[in-house]
């Protein structure tokens, strides 16, 4: 009888398996397990970024950064040297020159990697997608951002305007687009990291869009297809930026001390308010910087 009753019992956890199953079924580990042998031959990390490629690109881009754009930072010390932080900037130029400039600047000055979130369009393009990924580009997905910021304490750069920022024409320069749906605020709240707004002046003039051709964009599956002033320089001109003077101002970090990280949901209105406040801050900083700018080319 007792045996029959026992069969109806759900099977409890047993402890004897480690000796009898020959496939080295490991016991439930109490202590930290030894690291497994990992015979890697390359240095490409789980995000596709390669420090070796990145170092090469830094070397190649440095003359561009110093002599062409003559990038000048203000308040770089507001970017933390350790721990996760979400860098948020305005976005401009048909082929945005702000992303490589910010990434290069932070990586050389602070000597820590920056992962740049961008549209999945980059990943789907052959060659470009691979290069983009090796140099620190990551598909903008909330899970990716959370893992980078929260689990791995990395710096992540995001342009909340998305493709609407670089996709605007020259007559709309330095007027910030909508900051998406405030997803960047939600990620920072969930990951419990500060948001560091950055205002960038110069990218707009480095590759101004005269007008756009939507039909070509649709055919290519691209977010926009621009006709730029740079194209007047000849066939290669489409890829060469004008030497506009770059000025970057890092604004005060925005933290959310009253918000608990790792919540399943956050107040939509709070997110939208914070998002709009950060947009306003960057917009005002831009206007301030433009007021002080004497020349597009010399700053």
């Amino acid at each position: 009888m007792a045996d029959e009753d026992a069969t109806d019992e759900p099977q409890g956890p047993r402890t004897t398996t480690a000796e009898i199953v020959p496939l080295r079924l490991p016991p439930v580990a109490d202590e930290e397990p030894e690291p497994l042998e990992d015979p890697r031959t390359g240095d490409v990390d789980e995000w596709g970024r390669s420090e070796r490629v990145r170092a090469l690109v830094r070397k190649a881009y440095d003359p561009m950064y110093r002599n062409w754009f003559r990038a000048e930072w203000d308040g770089l010390d507001k970017i933390p040297t350790e721990g996760g932080a979400l860098l948020v900037a305005n976005h401009a130029g048909a082929i945005p020159s702000d992303a490589p400039t910010i990434m290069h600047g932070v990586e050389t000055e602070l000597e820590r990697p920056v992962y740049g979130l961008a549209d999945h369009f980059f990943k789907s393009a052959p060659v470009v997608g691979t290069l983009w990924s090796r140099t620190g580009g990551v598909v903008a997905h909330p899970d990716n951002a959370y893992r980078l910021l929260h689990d791995q304490n990395q710096l992540v750069l995001v342009f909340p305007e998305g493709s609407k920022g670089p996709g605007k024409t020259y007559n709309e320069r330095y007027r910030l687009r909508r900051f998406g749906r405030g997803g960047f605020v939600e990620i920072a709240m969930r990951a419990g990291v500060p948001i560091i707004p950055i205002a960038v002046v110069g990218a707009e003039e480095s590759m101004p869009i005269l007008f756009k051709v939507p039909s070509v964009a649709r055919a290519l599956g691209a977010p926009y297809f621009p006709v730029t002033a740079n194209m007047a320089l000849g066939p290669l001109g489409a890829l060469i930026h004008f030497p506009a003077k770059f000025k970057l101002r890092v604004l005060d970090p925005v933290t959310f001390p009253d918000v608990e990280p790792d919540q399943p949901r956050y107040s939509r209105s709070r997110i939208m308010d914070e998002s709009e406040a950060i947009r306003q801050q960057i917009q005002e900083a831009l206007f301030d910087m433009l007021r002080q700018r004497r020349s597009v080319w010399f700053g």
Partner: protein, 349 residues
């Protein structure tokens, strides 16, 4: 009173390996293996039952044997091995019959372990780099194997909801490599030139075959209800997989591979699964932390799994196959099992 386990797909790689491991466990009283073909591995006390491919006799077997655990290892995840219809029969209809049997009135089944695949997440440029168990796939399922696995998983969910007294573990495995298993990836890596898609170098995540078997046994042995990803740590670019394997790649055009290979495939000239093409472009990563938190420890990382596979290939290329083909001699096994003439050891207690 020991465990009574039913293994579906006994003649598949996984069914055979799981049955072998269960045989060594004295707590397991009865092992019944179901398949359409005879087992291909050496088995001592597993009872082999021949069935049709969609397991229509399953409910009778479950009732007659009173099994408490079902290890469903028979799902087909490699679409090149059979026709679309056969795959549908095995995956969808087979699973449907399996759950019908397991949830029949008076069923003794208290645990079901299902071996699914990370294919259910798909592979697209919009994907997160690490799929979690709760994530839904981003791109719609286009290939038949993905669609069939999604259908299977919907049966699994229904079954779990209707039968809360049954511990159901659904394990999703990423691409498997290892000394003995044959998958589209291991076939590709054994070619003189390994196919890659020009302009793409996706991140790959792999798992060693021993870790897969250990994961299945872990789920059979312990109480881990729910869905779990099973994959080695880390993601490595396809180019690095080739480097570890010491192979060079042959680039395929980035556009229209499906169009180009489809007619060749119909003629049987190439053996290239459509789901592999997406994988070679965009890769796939799954988050393995939940299963680790449940207590499972891996033996190999992604790169380690490739290295183990490559070492086994080197050995095999040098000394040839080290295994003798096993033929299941039903009469002989029955003789050993049941004849009074056979001297048996007293089973360990």
């Amino acid at each position: 009173m020991g465990r009574r386990v039913l293994v579906t797909g006994l003649s598949t790689f996984w069914g055979g390996r799981v049955a072998q491991a269960l045989e060594a466990d004295p707590d397991v009283d009865v092992i019944i293996g179901l398949d359409t073909r005879e087992p291909t591995v050496k088995l001592e006390r597993t009872e082999y039952v021949r069935s049709d491919e969609n397991y229509s006799i399953l409910s009778r077997i479950v009732k007659a044997t009173g099994v408490d655990t079902i290890a469903h290892t028979f799902l087909v995840v490699d679409s090149t091995t059979m026709s679309s219809r056969a795959m549908h029969e095995i995956n969808v209809i087979g699973t449907m019959n399996l759950f019908a049997a397991a949830s029949a009135a008076g069923s003794t089944v208290r645990k079901v372990v299902v071996k699914s695949a990370a294919l259910v997440y798909g592979s697209s440029p919009k994907d997160p780099y690490w799929f979690r168990e709760t994530d839904r796939r981003v791109a719609p399922a286009r290939t038949r194997v993905e669609r069939s696995l999604l259908e299977v998983e919907s049966y699994v969910r229904d079954f779990a909801r209707d039968n809360p007294h049954v511990v159901l573990s659904l394990l999703r495995f990423c691409n498997v490599v290892g000394p003995d298993i044959t998958t589209p990836l291991t076939r590709a890596l054994r070619l003189p030139l390994v196919p890659k898609v020009a302009g793409y170098d996706p991140r790959f995540q792999l798992v060693h075959e021993d870790d897969v078997v250990a994961a299945l046994l872990f789920a059979i042995d312990r109480e881990v209800p729910g869905i779990y990803n099973v994959a080695g740590d880390g993601q490595i670019p396809w180019s690095e997989v080739m480097t570890i394997a010491g192979k060079r790649g042959i680039p395929m055009p980035p556009f229209g591979i499906g169009l180009a290979t489809d007619p060749l495939q119909r003629l049987g000239l190439v053996d290239f699964a459509p789901e592999v093409i997406d994988l070679l472009k965009y890769g796939r990563g799954i988050d393995n932390r939940a299963f680790k938190d449940a207590g499972f420890a891996y033996e190999h990382t992604s790169a380690g799994a490739v290295e183990a596979f490559v070492q086994a290939m080197r050995l095999r290329d040098t000394v040839g196959s080290d295994e003798v083909d096993y033929r299941y001699e039903e009469d002989v096994e029955t003789f050993f099992r049941h004849s009074p003439a056979v001297v048996r050891d007293t089973p360990p207690s």
